[in-house]
Symmetry: C2
Subunit: 367 residues, 2 copies
């Protein structure tokens, strides 16, 4: 087992990474204050891991809360199911909410914990690669609004993140690829040497090689913990973690939540951020193409939906959380391994980026 | 104008109390970071004060959000109207939400500010006595759930509380009385000398005498600020502010939100807390009766709904936020002017308190 620490003063917490952690009660009990525990999970994950985790928590009063699966359900109606369950079972302020599942479960269970009785403890037990390397760390919680993704939520830190890498064994290949989008992101924004390693290990990663996956998860979590430790509430640096996300959120919102996986939209969105950085002269054509090839080798879409016109992107991007006083800010690459958040770009470069024929770009890169 | 300070480290903020403050831009501008402002108010308050406040905020882009009036609307559906308005008008993270209204508006606007884009600034401009002396100070925000009052919410502090005492001129007498319930509460829990002053000033207060009201508001806010400064997140002392509230919430939930005003339910709930403290031998019959007479002179109900049986109270009280590990805790008076939060009481004393004939008790006190 490897253990990292997210340093946030009195809100600091450990990230444990390893095999078989779901069955180790001693990792959970230090973070459970009362006798009540609610395990929030979904219909897909519950048959796989709910019993195992419940057995680990013998001695506590365990309430399972099983939600429908998918980003399309990351809304108030589903969140309400958690409150209903907690109140019906009379869970009090000392209850601990455990999120057992992917990013959607973590975001919703975390937001429910942030709001229930004005805040109860919670623990992240992410079971998808994407949630293990990104969404379970850093305290961003929330739900979607029909007018924008993650528009309603809270910064609310977990008491611990417990990553059992065995859970990746049941992860569908499409979800694994979606997680790799965020892994590659860390290389692009702040860890250039990570990129050649990822390129050399891509087959091992997609083949669920335990050593490669553990290394990729640890390195990703370490990068995320560093950034969050500097800027917990995204007043500055933290926004670099959103490389590809402004374009990606527009894709997700336009297509309808859940049609594209979040990581898939980030994949295509990252291609757009790469292209815009190239147009600004900050990275070379070769660097752009290498990154696109890596995303494609991860099994990710590198072409935005053909039916999305520039005006569709602009409309959705106007409500992005990085918009300040009416100005759109984007995460772009000053160079490979160094992201910046900036509103300082000529409008025509954005327009050209949105009008680029990404289908043709992908085709010319070959296989 | 009088100014108090709520001391919470980097989350400290001023409370300004006085006449004509709605028209003083210099009280607002230091707390508005961006160019966008959303004034959240309701159908009753908007015709009275929305234009005045909007004029004060000339130079900002002001978005009015007008909600239906009443505790019955303190729910997710109404909260959603705030998010809809903010997103449709493309308010970004630098927006400032201003709550213009009573406790329901303050709780909902504050919770919306806590959640919108994971947190934006907000300012409390309370227009009822109850919100001026209690709910606008201290950062408790939230909405009701069908199974319990204020069960979903956040601790989220305002940037400032601006109390224009002129707004009480349009307050219905029933609402004024409801506010006096919380004013009397401060005397009972932590400021014994306040009680004879309140007794001598009750006619002036109910007659809207400006000097008496300002003094009562300042003294109440000072008490609240002291308690909140010691225990922001209600891990201990702060719970004493809930004298009468556990019984009162049961009344509100059982009768249907909005049938009894919150302050009215607290009035009757306080009588029950007094009776229980008397049964425990902590206060005398005379002290109980003096306090009940003061509540009645404030225009408050001192008899719980006759149709509520002990089991109705117990059912609703079981989900109270002060329940910990299954144990009901109550705020009681160790003596007049000193409240305690305790689970240490014989069950039969609670049962006897719930079975007391409050109608007969009130009748025997005479006028």
């Amino acid at each position: 087992m490897r253990t990292l620490q997210v340093d946030l003063g009195e809100r600091s917490y450990p990230i444990h990474i390893g095999s078989g952690l779901l069955s180790r009660p001693e990792l959970f009990t230090p973070h459970i204050a009362g006798r009540q525990v609610a395990i929030v999970t979904n219909e897909t994950v519950a048959p796989l891991y709910l019993e195992r985790l419940s057995n680990t928590l013998q001695g506590y009063s365990v309430l399972p809360v099983i939600l429908p699966d998918g980003e399309a359900h990351k809304n108030w109606e589903t969140l309400q199911l958690i409150f209903d369950a907690l109140l019906t079972a009379r869970h009090d302020r000392r209850t601990t909410v455990i999120a057992l599942g992917g990013g959607v479960i973590g975001d919703m269970a975390g937001f429910a914990a942030a709001c229930y009785q004005r805040g109860v403890d919670f623990i992240q037990v992410p079971t998808t690669l994407l949630s293990q390397v990104d969404s379970s760390v850093g305290g961003k919680t929330g739900i979607n609004h029909p007018l924008g993704k993650n528009m309603v939520g809270a910064f609310y830190q977990p008491k611990a993140v417990i990553i059992d890498t065995d859970t990746l064994g049941t992860l569908p290949p499409r979800e694994l690829s979606a997680g790799l989008a965020e892994v590659i992101k860390y290389g692009l924004i702040c860890d250039k040497p990570f990129l050649p390693w990822l390129s050399s290990q891509m087959s091992a990663l997609r083949g669920l090689d335990a050593v490669a996956l553990t290394e990729a998860i640890e390195r990703s979590c370490a990068a995320k913990a560093r950034v969050v430790g500097v800027d917990e509430r995204e007043s500055g640096l933290r926004a670099i973690l959103n490389l590809g996300h402004t374009f990606g959120h527009a894709i997700e919102t336009h297509q309808g939540y859940g049609v594209w996986l979040h990581g898939e939209a980030v994949g295509a969105g990252t291609v757009m951020a790469l292209e815009m950085s190239r147009r600004l002269g900050w990275i070379s054509v070769a660097e752009r193409d290498d990154a696109i090839r890596l995303l494609r080798r991860a099994g990710l879409p590198v072409v935005p939906p053909v039916e999305m016109a520039p005006e569709h992107f602009l409309e959705h991007m106007a409500v992005d959380k990085k918009v300040l006083d009416g100005q759109l800010r984007l995460v772009l690459l000053r160079q490979i391994g160094e992201a910046v958040v900036t509103a300082e770009f000529p409008r025509e470069v954005l327009d050209a980026t949105l009008s680029t024929d990404y289908r043709a770009l992908a085709d010319q890169l070959g296989e």
